[in-house]
Subunit: 356 residues, 2 copies
DNA sequence: TCGTAAGATGTAATCGATTACAAAATGTCG
DNA sequence: CGACATTTTGTAATCGATTACATCTTACGA
């Protein structure tokens, strides 16, 4: 490439193209942005110069001038969690359709990392933020809110901050899980919870307790274990379970990973699923269908959730919110598979006997 | 906030801070970038103005002026794959240590999406690119290379393009897998391959075939199935396997997901693992330890891989490459678990008899 | 052919920071 | 105290696009 008359530097600027085509930079810009506002002849002339020079507009400059970046930030608690990976696909799809890009802010379950992304947002590198971490990062709470930065909460709701929420019906599904298990005859239940401070975990727990009340069970029919939405939490719960004198006949795990860890550990100890214990999970990750027995669980509409949430963010950015956009709750669906069964005859007998 | 003397607009600019502190923008900039090049008194004055105004520098403007964004792009074939999720953590860790940010470009197994990220790179929104997709995107091949954009290939090597490679020893591990199985006495093997055009898949296949030769086996001792690095591929392979008259006694799956799908499907058909068939996977995903029986597999050093790759990219950006940085191959480690066992007595007997 | 409206193009300001260079302030020493 | 070296600070150019406004063309009817 030894064309002359160009800057010797590296990048090709709009000015270079303009010079090459013998027009002004304004014209080049117009050709690229509003081809119909320019004479055909000029258009072709400029396009040829663009081709020849291999020009690509510098979007950093464009973003500065236009005061927007066409990019959204998504804060994710943990990328390794397949639930979030799926939601991200939905978000990406929707944003792409509107020409927006996506920056993923992975917290890796570590709240301190929020600061980094707050900075990204405040330094005007993104036009909006999707929060899947259940809160406006503390370090930017005042600033982000005051700056009027468009934000949407997904998965975990953020109440009372003027932020729209797009979530699934965790509570209802939890209630339904309990109802499902009691319908199978189970009257003593175990619950593997999520992390203590976690909003989603709290929702699911609330639903569980509501379901318990609705089923007419008392606290004495329950056992609860802490968890952290990971395999190990299920394993730990299993250890506690195995030490129990009077074991529940059904377990509700607030996420599939915990359910899977739990099942693995109790089966290793000789407990049969579902003959001795029924287990139901939550999330509907792909893996749940590949363990043995296949896991009964509630499936989240992950892709739809992502698309919907991104859609709301776009409306927010465009200042086009409708009343119904501020609070969206998508339903889950029960996947009945092989880890749940009617309470075993032995247990039923005990129950029947005590009833008589 | 009704301080006066400021622009009524939304964002607070460096000029506002300068005005508030009674200094020039240059001084504010210096206070923030080189605090020691400024008198203490001025420093404090400016900092107070920064506090009071809640100023955050606009990094779009800074990036334009500095002609760099402190951001790297990582092109990932499929975010839902836990292998990549883990690698990303490693990359993120390393980049963060150097003050760099990270944009994830998820292809979702769809090569057309490359174009979008090529544009991101060419429009100078990132300082470098990590390619995990095994090739320089066709749409930007010429341009990206000519522009001298720092690029690094990870996972899947890209040969002969002047791009450094950071990969794992796929071929060696595949060879080792075969050696391991033959050491257990298996003489007839099945192989579940990766997608046809995929470079990683090719490497692993090559290693497998090399191992077969080294073990003195012939093509007649082998069965091979196509796969696509997903569960379903394992299930499909299992169906083919079950139809076989003379079944291999050991299967090597080129990724854990396929191995897991395979195991699930053959067990459902009554074939025992490892008594009837040994199975070994590849990758070492967390899940492999939660199926039944636990999966023998090769673990990739994912986090290290990510950190190393990001490290090489940073050197590339800083023009600080050393000869040994251009080709790095990390070793894998065998996780011996429960899906592999010495060939069953029946099979051994057959073999012994035929030898005699 | 000319006047005028509509359309095409050019000029220069702008986005918000950084930084080379100039100017001013401070400090040091004879 | 004054001359000069050394810090500090300010002025203005710069990064590379977009776009309001001004200017120049073109087209068309009188």
């Amino acid at each position: 490439m030894s064309r002359k008359g160009w800057r010797s530097g590296k990048g090709i600027r709009i000015a270079d193209v303009a010079h090459l085509a013998g027009v002004s930079t304004a014209t080049v810009s117009r050709v690229l942005a509003n081809p119909d506002k320019v004479r055909t002849k000029t258009h072709d002339l400029v396009m040829e110069a663009v081709q020849r020079s291999g020009y690509t507009p510098n979007s950093v400059a464009r973003n500065l001038r236009k005061r927007r970046t066409m990019t959204a930030l998504v804060i994710v608690p943990n990328l390794a969690n397949p639930v979030f990976a799926q939601i991200l696909r939905g978000i990406d799809d929707e944003l792409t359709r509107s020409g927006y890009g996506l920056v993923i802010g992975n917290l890796d379950n570590c709240a301190e990392r929020e600061a980094r992304y707050v900075d990204l947002a405040l330094s005007r590198q993104v036009d909006g933020v999707i929060l899947m971490n259940g809160r406006v990062p503390a370090s930017g709470k005042r600033t982000m809110t005051e700056a009027g930065l468009p934000m949407v909460a997904m998965c975990a709701a953020i109440e009372g901050e003027g932020i729209p929420n797009v979530v699934v019906q965790d509570r209802e599904a939890s209630r339904a899980a309990v109802a499902y298990l009691t319908r199978l005859g189970h009257r003593s239940l175990g619950y593997i919870a999520g992390p203590a401070g976690n909003i989603i975990a709290a929702e699911r727990l609330t639903g569980f307790l509501e379901g318990v009340v609705a089923a007419g069970l008392s606290e004495r029919d329950l056992v609860r274990w802490e968890g952290r939405f990971v395999f190990e939490a299920g394993v730990a719960a299993a250890e506690a379970f195995l030490r129990l004198k009077r074991r529940p006949t059904a377990i509700y795990a607030s996420c599939d990973e915990s359910a899977i860890g739990f099942i693995k550990a109790i089966r290793a100890a000789g407990v049969r699923v579902p003959e001795d214990v029924s287990v139901i999970g939550f999330d509907g990750i792909e893996f749940a269908d590949y363990i043995e027995p296949t896991l009964t669980t509630f499936r989240q509409p992950l892709h739809e959730l992502g698309r919907t949430g991104a859609g709301v963010l776009l409306k927010m950015i465009r200042n086009d919110m409708k009343p119904e956009d501020w609070h969206i709750r998508l339903p889950l669906s029960l996947l009945e598979r092989d880890t749940t069964a009617p309470v075993s005859s032995r247990a039923s007998e005990m129950k029947r006997r005590s009833k008589a």
